[in-house]
């Protein structure tokens, strides 16, 4: 019974933690511009993220190696350093965007200057990483992130056009701008920091082969349920913003949708959900900087080891948070930064995920947990999607001027 409860709580945490600033921005903008027509991109993004998370979790459990342990071992030196630099850059851009978003959310409900709240956000992140255990961090932010369920309620309350929504799950063609958002939504669902964090988390939580079903349940149920929230963001934007011709450039517009449909209580639930989702992602991306560098350099790493057990890992996490804070202080717009973070993530993904895909199919390393006849083609198919997104993302970004041109 206790085990099932643990599995259920893990699923809930994965559900609440799936959405971050990338989904809040990209999915809402896509709904406002194209209605339901980009929903299929969320399905593809979720499937790829489920496959990659399951693979990385399984490899971490069986081989006891996280993402950048494999990068170090499997790549020649120049390629492993390239992958590390790309991974760190992406995590730092993501961290900056999330930290800026955290400051904005607090600014919307508490007033005062968002720069001040970015500092408060930074302190919350540092305090959480020093004072809370790994599983507590994961669960507290994951559970509070469930506040974003108000967007699903708002979509249902508005009276969904089920037929049109159903058609949105079938791929359709469109302008370059449409494809930019399709690629952006896919990339937002499979940001690399999520996989670095997931694979390192399996080792942090000391998962054994007994936890392989837990790994499957967390990734296979938690992520798709999180995908429902992500899809709700698009649906609500299609219902409310598209008829007006409003393309949101602000997180406040996203929160305003909940206010408009369900009133102040839903607005505050959305605020709490967005705060937790963005806060959780900030911690995840800060930790991921530490994971990437420490694993690549062969240093002791992990939140569970404590500051004394993994001093360089903690120092990297704190330095990353400090750099993220400094970037936000340059007054860069977190929403614009998010778009760059998502597209930059797409570019870094193929290098980061290749070793996971390879090792998961290596019978010598994985033994009886090697990928089977279903997991193997799914892994290659997912990797192909990752490569397409990596190539198409930056090209479409330039052609459409970050989605502004049709």
């Amino acid at each position: 019974m206790k085990k099932y409860l643990g599995v259920a709580l893990g699923i809930i945490a994965a559900l609440g933690g799936f959405v971050d600033i990338g989904e809040l921005v990209f999915n809402t903008q896509a709904g406002a511009l194209f209605g339901y027509r980009t929903l299929w991109a969320i399905v593809v993004g979720v499937i790829v993220s489920v496959v990659l998370a399951e693979l990385s979790g399984r490899v971490a459990i069986v081989a006891k190696k996280a993402n950048f342990d494999l990068v170090r071992e499997r790549y020649p030196r120049w390629l492993s350093i390239t992958t590390l630099v790309a991974g760190l850059a992406v995590c730092l851009i993501t961290l900056s965007a999330e930290l800026g978003g955290l400051g904005l959310i607090m600014h919307y409900v508490l007033g005062w200057n968002e720069g001040f709240f970015t500092l408060i956000g930074l302190l919350i992140i540092v305090a959480s990483s020093l004072l809370l255990s790994f599983s507590m961090i994961e669960r507290v932010f994951g559970y509070l992130g469930l506040g974003l369920v108000v967007f699903t309620i708002a979509a249902l309350h508005h009276g969904p056009a089920w037929h049109a929504i159903g058609r949105g799950f079938l791929p359709s063609g469109g302008s370059l701008q449409y494809w930019y958002f399709v690629v952006g939504m896919m990339a937002a669902a499979m940001m690399p920091y999520e996989i670095y964090f997931y694979s390192s988390g399996a080792i942090e939580e000391k998962w054994t082969t007994d936890d392989i079903p837990v790994n499957r349940a967390n990734s296979g149920l938690g992520f798709p349920l999180g995908g429902i929230i992500a899809a709700s963001l698009t649906i609500v934007a299609a219902q409310q913003l598209m008829p007006l011709g409003l393309t949101p450039d602000s997180l406040a517009t996203v929160l305003q949708e909940a206010l408009h449909e369900l009133g102040p209580l839903a607005f505050y639930a959305a605020v709490v959900g967005a705060f937790a989702a963005i806060g959780g992602a900030t911690i995840d991306s800060a930790f991921s900087c530490g994971y990437a560098l420490a694993q690549h350099q062969g240093w002791p790493w992990g939140e569970s080891k404590g500051v004394r057990g993994a001093p360089r890992w903690f120092a990297t996490v704190l330095a990353a948070a400090g750099i993220g804070f400094a970037v936000v202080q340059t007054r860069v717009d977190p929403v614009n930064l998010t778009e760059y973070a998502v597209i930059a993530s797409a570019v870094a993904m193929p290098l980061s995920f290749w070793p996971i895909v390879r090792v998961s199919q290596d019978r010598e390393t994985m033994g009886r947990y090697v990928s089977g006849p279903v997991a193997r083609p799914m892994a290659w198919l997912s990797y192909a999607v990752v490569c397409v997104v990596a190539i198409a993302g930056p090209i479409l970004m330039l052609l459409t001027h970050t989605g502004e041109l049709k």
């Binding site: 011709g245 949101p248 602000s250």
Partner: protein, 142 residues
């Protein structure tokens, strides 16, 4: 054997660098935007800011938006229109004067709402003004 491997790695690295340089040149070439594009982007952004402000004003009128949120959001939208106004001035666009005037009007309306975020009467007037200005902006996009 080791020297041969090192040579292959150097060659591979050189190929990767060449590909990256070519891609950068390609991106710079395809990344150039036309003047008409800039007019459209700025007009669309202004239209969106005006509509967003009108929706916010509607929430204030309906008594749903708290004054802190209303002030913060209106201020944010005003900052955006100010930035657009600056961009339009810097870019010296064909419809620059019209765009600047529109940005100024939308910014003023949003600024009024930001200052008196809990005044329902002002929100009602601002809503009408912003809807009209959004309509004007949409004419510039076509």
């Amino acid at each position: 054997m080791v020297a041969e491997r090192g040579g292959i790695q150097r060659q591979a690295a050189s190929v990767v660098v060449k590909i990256l340089v070519c891609l950068c040149c390609l991106f710079v070439l395809i990344g150039c935007e036309s003047t008409a594009d800039r007019v459209e982007i700025n007009a669309q952004s202004l239209q969106s800011d005006a509509l967003d402000g009108a929706v916010l004003a509607g929430e204030i009128v309906a008594g749903r938006a708290g004054s802190i949120f209303a002030r913060a959001h209106a201020q944010e939208l005003q900052d955006d229109t100010t930035q657009i106004e600056k961009n339009v001035y810097d870019q010296k666009l064909p419809k620059g004067d019209e765009l600047q005037k529109l940005a100024d009007q939308i910014g003023t309306a949003l600024g009024t709402m930001a200052v008196q975020a809990d005044d329902v009467q002002i929100a009602r007037q601002t809503r009408e003004t912003l809807l009209q200005l959004a309509d004007d902006a949409s004419k510039l996009t076509s």
